[in-house]
Symmetry: C2
Subunit: 457 residues, 2 copies
């Protein structure tokens, strides 16, 4: 039940199952095999946007409130405050005791969680439909009435510092990831870790937390997603009675973060640690996210990544793990669900008897060949087909579905964007994929991280 | 006469001549051969700090106003605004026409200039003593009465964009330096170029300029330095009549910039350009500045850098350019005159027939040997002696002297710190130098930039 923190990189995996549900919406429609109704979309007078996704397979509802406020919206020098506030929302309000909401959920056998990313912070509960009103009352309450004592803040700051020690310091891969991120972004706050830099976390105060809360926690900056065994009209009525009573507390306005310069400089980051036994690498190419991409460009990047190293028959996996036995793990992923820049990343762990440099040279050859010679129509069709099929048949749980809509709606997208995604995928051409490869897999722009054993010098 | 922009790296060279004058103060005292009087230090009621350095060798005065506001004090996303405001200060005020001040200086055969760094912006005039009051009236006027038209802003924005094209885009070394800086700093604004990122410069507005001006251009955030053929009392009287009339316009308060996490990850940045014929490298180790260093630590870094690669008999220069013919240029420098982090940097250009990687390995061996085995007392004595001697006998011009005090006083130092510097240098021990080498020349923390010819692939 502890609030969790997600990096987009790991979150991508969760999203796949989310996309599944989405795909089910769009594709199922085409195939006349729809099990999940189309989402309904409302906006309350106070600006709260609501998405309802009926799903009557089981007597359960998933309730989520998403704020368009993540670590990239933090004041500079206050890294970690978005995630800290997420933790502090489990303290008391003017009317509820600390922990009272969590206890009420637990008592009815419900589940809850929360997570912070670069672009959003979200709170999640899964309960029986009858408990929805109760959940909404508590969630609406902590949207506006948070009370924090100095003692709450001090105790919870120790918790997030310990969380950082466990997540980052105890994990050489995380130490490298943090530095890799910082090197990828020369100007944009995506270079700052979501959990915060330790030396800034220790100074986060009650005032910092309340400032962030008062700036971003307001209905006009939030999205309510309800998926499950309930009708849109019922949700709307309950929302009016609960969230509808919350006043607009602030006007966060358009999100404008410092953006990246157009870099032509390649960067390499190396971290050596005695805990590392087998070296590995991860490379990031900055690419546009769905929000900022040209038409079909983000979709082409999704397909490109699948052809290059996403699918089991992808070029990288086939070459390094099937045709030749060079890598124990290798591939690529594109995660376009970010408000600003997105990342196309490549990863590689050579087999123990293979030198990392040799394996990397091999990988570079595969990438360069794709850039120079392009992909085939057959590869595109296969990749798109496998992407869509694997999405359709993977989990379509309520919560991953709610999560997908929450992610899209807090990163500049709309319900329509979600629903029309399969059609847009179908319009991608070989030229689109080749153009994306040429432009974004440019070694001049790459940032590569090396995780290495302690030097033997 | 065009306002100039300085990077600390190149500015270090200018400062050497500045330090000379300083050394003349401290050392000359010891040697009873003082030619330059000790500086006087005052503060006006409105908070303006004044330093006067009498120098009667010629009928000339150097007048400088320094603001404790540089590029590291810019709002995030508004890179280049400090330097832009420096340019805009040459436009008109409520009472002076655009260019009137510059014209008045030129008419009496005076000189003027201005420069922006990460920690300060300064305005400089060199005139006959009789013209000092006129200069002070104009400078005090533009401290508070700047008027800007939209047309001024648009015209001058084109000027700074062109300046960027000439300084950065036209120069592969500058392109690399910009990316190297961005990689060195994971969190601190020193990673942002002083001139600004082009994509942010194009959006800088009149409002942005006036915001920066109104926040930072106030007597309590400025330092007046007058060096030359005039007595402190006269300067004080003139300053009261001119600057004394300027009200406190803002309270900028303590400067708190986001600070660096303690990095253990090495970074490499490579830039290839067809204009590059001979490859070269530059490496930066973050180190404390004079303001934040432990006692004797910054002084030890000054000596360390001299032993390692500063002096012509330094280890690097001797090994790579005398004993072996490997490099056409190689050495190190430490620039401790920054408000926050300072940099110890190493540079290397191999001879045309030597591979960069081979030369770098050689250089690494020299550094690692110094770290492991330390320096000798004789090396320390020689380095300190040569540093002090070269300072004493190099230029002691008024303007470099004024510049030294301006730099120190806008980066957290005091007049006393300047005067006592030689004594502090004398207290540095071999252990201090070895400790600094061990701690700061750690390859784990290094960021290295490679400037390379276009790939022949």
């Amino acid at each position: 039940m502890r609030p969790a923190l997600n990096r987009p990189a790991t979150f991508a995996l969760l999203l796949i199952s989310g996309l599944t549900a989405l795909m089910a919406v769009g594709i199922a429609r085409a195939e006349q095999a729809m099990r999940i109704a189309e989402p309904s979309n409302f906006v309350l007078d106070n600006g709260l946007e609501i998405v309802v996704i009926p799903d009557h397979r089981a007597p359960v509802v998933t309730h989520m409130v998403w704020y368009k406020a993540g670590s990239a919206d933090e004041p500079w020098g206050k890294s970690g405050i978005a995630h800290f506030v997420e933790h502090l929302l489990f303290k008391g309000t003017k009317t509820a005791e600390p922990g009272e909401f969590s206890k009420a959920i637990a008592e009815i056998g419900g589940q809850e969680n929360a997570f912070t990313s670069v672009d959003y912070t979200a709170y999640f509960q899964k309960v029986v439909p009858d408990a929805l009103e109760m959940v909404m009352r508590y969630e609406a309450d902590r949207m506006q009435n948070l009370t924090l004592t100095e003692s709450d803040v001090e105790t919870e700051r120790d918790v997030i510092l310990e969380e950082r020690r466990q997540r980052v310091d105890a994990n050489p891969g995380s130490i490298l990831s943090e530095a890799l991120n910082a090197a990828v972004y020369q100007n944009h706050p995506y270079g700052i870790p979501i959990i915060g830099w330790e030396h800034e976390m220790v100074g986060l105060s009650r005032e910092d937390a309340l400032d962030f809360y008062d700036t971003h926690y307001t209905p006009n900056n939030a999205i309510l997603i309800v998926a499950g065994d309930i009708e849109p009209e019922e949700v709307l009525e309950l929302a009016r009675k609960t969230y509808g009573m919350v006043e607009r507390r602030a006007e966060p306005g358009q999100r404008v973060r410092p953006s990246e310069p157009d870099s032509v400089v390649s960067r390499k980051v190396s971290y050596r640690d005695a805990r590392v036994t087998i070296p590995s690498m991860r490379r990031i190419y900055l690419a546009p996210s769905y929000r900022i991409a040209e038409p079909r460009e983000a979709e082409a990047l999704d397909i490109l990544s699948t052809i290059l190293g996403g699918a089991s028959t992808s070029r990288i996996k086939r070459a390094l793990m099937v045709d030749q036995t060079i890598a124990s793990s290798a591939g690529s992923s594109y995660w376009g669900g970010l408000y600003d820049n997105a990342e196309l990343s490549i990863y590689l762990t050579p087999l123990p008897n293979v030198e990392l440099a040799k394996a990397e040279a091999n990988l570079d050859g595969i990438i360069e060949d794709l850039r120079q010679n392009g992909v085939t129509q057959e590869e595109l069709d296969t990749a798109r087909d496998s992407l869509i099929k694997s999405m359709m048949f993977s989990s379509d749980s309520q919560s991953s579905m709610a999560r997908l809509f929450g992610t899209v709606l807090t990163t500049g997208g709309t319900v329509k964007d979600v629903v029309e995604w399969p059609d847009r995928m179908m319009s991608v051409t070989v030229e689109d994929v080749n153009k994306a490869a040429k432009k974004y897999l440019d070694p001049k722009r790459a940032t590569t991280g090396y995780l290495l054993p302690e030097a033997t010098l």
